[in-house]
């Protein structure tokens, strides 16, 4: 048994997962240190989505473990994995991150709605609201655009920032972003990434970002390249 390093937030060992015959992903080792920024890339079909499903506890590996902090996520029952995800993981989609029927602030506070722990970490019900406003401002959404506009009226770039604020509120240990910049143009992409990284650092959250845009890799501590059926590890 390999001893878990204390500095490691996330530790995956001998992951195997497949939907039918054969494994979509077979990853011998995947680790993320506390506060580390990891860039995951790979061609289509290399198992990026599957890896994210395993890391978030949506799916459970056929073999191997997913451990986050002291919790072996992959051996928890489904409901506990869902609660763990609510408490410890912030997630950003490629796009369409927001619930159209909630306001901008409520979209950010959605994380706290499902996780009392994160609400508490944000300072309680009232403070969470202020923290949400602060996060949005830090991510470049000022207060005036908050109150006047519906989320459906926001540009894609603005929507992604609201999504980032939702992932960050309550400082979860791990932020997972699935191609968060692919719907943005180059300028918006760099601006978004800079802000996201800065806020991750502030919250001392680790970041796992999946993208096929290799140009982003320079912002990260480490790059993990997933290949078809196999996974290699590289240090950027």
């Amino acid at each position: 048994m390999i001893p878990w390093g204390d500095a490691m937030l996330l530790n995956c060992l001998d992951l195997c997962f497949g939907w039918g015959k054969g494994d979509v992903i077979a990853l011998s080792r995947f680790e993320v240190a506390r506060g580390e920024r990891v860039f995951v890339c790979g061609p289509s079909g290399s198992g990026k989505s599957t890896l994210l499903s395993l890391l978030t506890g949506i799916a459970v590996p056929r073999e191997g473990h997913v451990r986050i902090e002291d919790t072996v996520l992959s051996s928890l029952p489904a409901a506990a994995r869902d609660q763990f995800r609510a408490d410890h993981i912030g997630y950003v989609f490629q796009q369409f991150n927001l619930l159209p029927y909630l306001g901008i602030l409520d979209n950010v506070l959605l994380s706290c709605m499902f996780s009392p722990r994160r609400e508490q970490r944000a300072g309680g019900r009232v403070a969470a609201r202020l923290e949400a406003i602060r996060l949005l401002a830090a991510l470049g959404l000022d207060e005036t655009s908050l109150h006047e506009r519906r989320v459906t009226e926001l540009s894609v770039g603005q929507q992604q920032r609201v999504a980032a604020a939702r992932a960050l509120i309550g400082s979860p240990e791990l932020i997972i972003a699935d191609e968060p910049t692919s719907a943005l143009d180059t300028d918006a992409r760099d601006a978004f990434l800079r802000l996201l990284l800065a806020e991750c650092e502030r919250a001392s959250s680790s970041l796992v970002l999946v993208s096929h845009d290799i140009a982003l890799a320079r912002h990260f501590d480490r790059v993990v390249r997933l290949g078809v059926q196999t996974a290699q590890r590289e240090i950027a």
């Binding site: 978030t56 159209p100 959605l110």
Partner: protein
């Protein structure tokens, strides 16, 4: 977890479809409760028409028939009761009072009932209400008439007004008892019973207007004037039926048997309550059909809701994935959709009940006046609560279908939604 808030907000986003669904459910609930209430009130209205009367005696036909023509003025008597038989039965020791009724004439579509002044003391309706006069008093003169509230209102009659009684229910000119006009002596307060639509005169008056008639025809050349008639013996030879009050209810069956076995004439005595329940068993089939139809309408309403929920499921996969990402379990997704069905049904039920009361309020006066039907505006009765609960349960069960689909999907989709 603040799922209710999410469900409400989500519904608000789709408010057009949601409002339509609520209206559909509301209309079906309105129909369901309306039918139920109409049924109940029709029953209690019928039941409250005869209270305080222990037996009704008439010619032998059928219990329901006798009940209908004697009290509700529906249909016609097949035969009469001779005055002598009436007198004999009235003098039985168990009998406390009797009120004779003589029907067969009309005034402008309203039935004319010949009876004695005792009718006004003995007749009871509802929970032991007595008849009360709005204007005037009981007939004193031979050609005095007392009219029901509806007659007065519809014909605009006042005390002192003269009226002419027609023979039978036709309106033919030569069939009028025009030679012996009546005067309105009193107007009754509304009762919600057939009394409201009656013109009440004395038995002697009925006799008087028929002295020069035979077999429904005026005897030619034997006209008797109104004043001449006053001097004649106006004891009737027969009556249509009579109401009986007993000294003790316990003797009801004994007196009933005595009447039914009366040898001089084929008569029957009925217990109003028993005859009513026989009437209900007749009407029951129609009632059940009506209830079945309204239940089907509720089903259709719920199917509408199901359609509204199911058609949006596809476009809501994104929403479900977002909720899953922030930590909602698939079970929460299931709960959310059942909750939406519940919210829609609840809103529909509340609106439906409100609609029913609004309708009752509007129709209250009309139905009481036209049909003598007293629709209660009271709070929902226990069976109505039960119906509402049934609609709610059915809606929640129906909601399980889209909820189950969304549950399966959110398990399969996880956070990856490929639209």
């Amino acid at each position: 977890m603040r799922a209710p808030r999410l469900a409400l907000n989500s519904l608000r986003q789709r408010r057009f479809a949601a409002v339509l669904t609520v209206i559909t459910i509301a209309l079906s609930v309105w129909l369901l409760l309306g039918v139920e209430r109409l049924r109940q009130d029709a029953r209690s209205s019928f039941a409250s028409t005869v209270s305080g009367t222990d037996l009704i005696v008439g010619a032998r036909s059928g219990p329901v028939n006798l009940l209908l023509y004697s009290v509700f003025h529906l249909g016609d008597a097949t035969n009469n009761v001779s005055w002598q038989s009436y007198k004999e039965i009235a003098s039985l020791p168990e009998v406390r009072w009797t009120v004779p009724i003589s029907l067969g004439d009309s005034h402008r579509g309203f039935r004319v009932m010949g009876t004695t002044a005792e009718f006004f003391q003995r007749y009871r309706y509802g929970s032991d209400h007595e008849l009360a006069f709005a204007q005037g008093r009981v007939f004193g003169d031979l050609y005095d008439a007392v009219i029901g509230a509806q007659v007065a209102r519809q014909l605009g009659y006042h005390v002192g007004q003269s009226l002419v009684i027609a023979h039978g229910f036709g309106g033919m000119r030569q069939m009028l008892h025009a030679d012996k006009p009546f005067r309105v002596a009193g107007i009754l307060e509304p009762t919600g019973t057939p009394v409201d639509a009656s013109v009440i005169v004395s038995l002697q008056a009925i006799e008087a207007i028929h002295v020069d008639w035979q077999s429904g025809m005026r005897l030619p050349g034997q006209a008797v004037s109104a004043d001449q008639a006053r001097g004649m013996d106006l004891t009737p030879t027969s009556i249509t039926a009579f109401l009986v009050g007993l000294n003790s209810r316990l003797s009801s069956f004994a007196v009933q048997r005595a009447v039914n076995e009366y040898s001089q004439e084929p008569l029957q005595a009925i217990l109003p309550g028993v005859a009513l329940s026989q009437l209900w068993s007749l009407v029951g089939a129609a009632e059940n059909a009506l209830r079945a139809i309204s239940a089907m309408v509720v089903l259709v309403g719920l199917c509408g809701m199901l359609t509204a929920l199911l058609t949006t499921l596809n476009e809501r996969r994104r929403e479900m994935a977002i909720l899953r990402a922030v930590g909602a379990s698939a079970r929460t997704v299931f709960f959310l959709l059942v909750l939406e069905a519940g919210v829609l049904a609840m809103a529909g039920i509340v609106l439906g009940v409100a609609l029913m009361y609004a309708t009752l309020l509007v129709l209250h006066g009309f139905l009481a006046a036209q049909l003598g039907l007293n629709l209660g505006l009271g709070l929902p009765a226990s069976n109505e609560w039960l119906l509402m609960a049934a609609v709610m349960v059915a809606a929640l069960l129906a909601g399980c279908l889209p909820a189950w689909i969304a549950y399966r999907r959110s398990l399969a989709d996880g956070l990856q939604v490929h639209l």
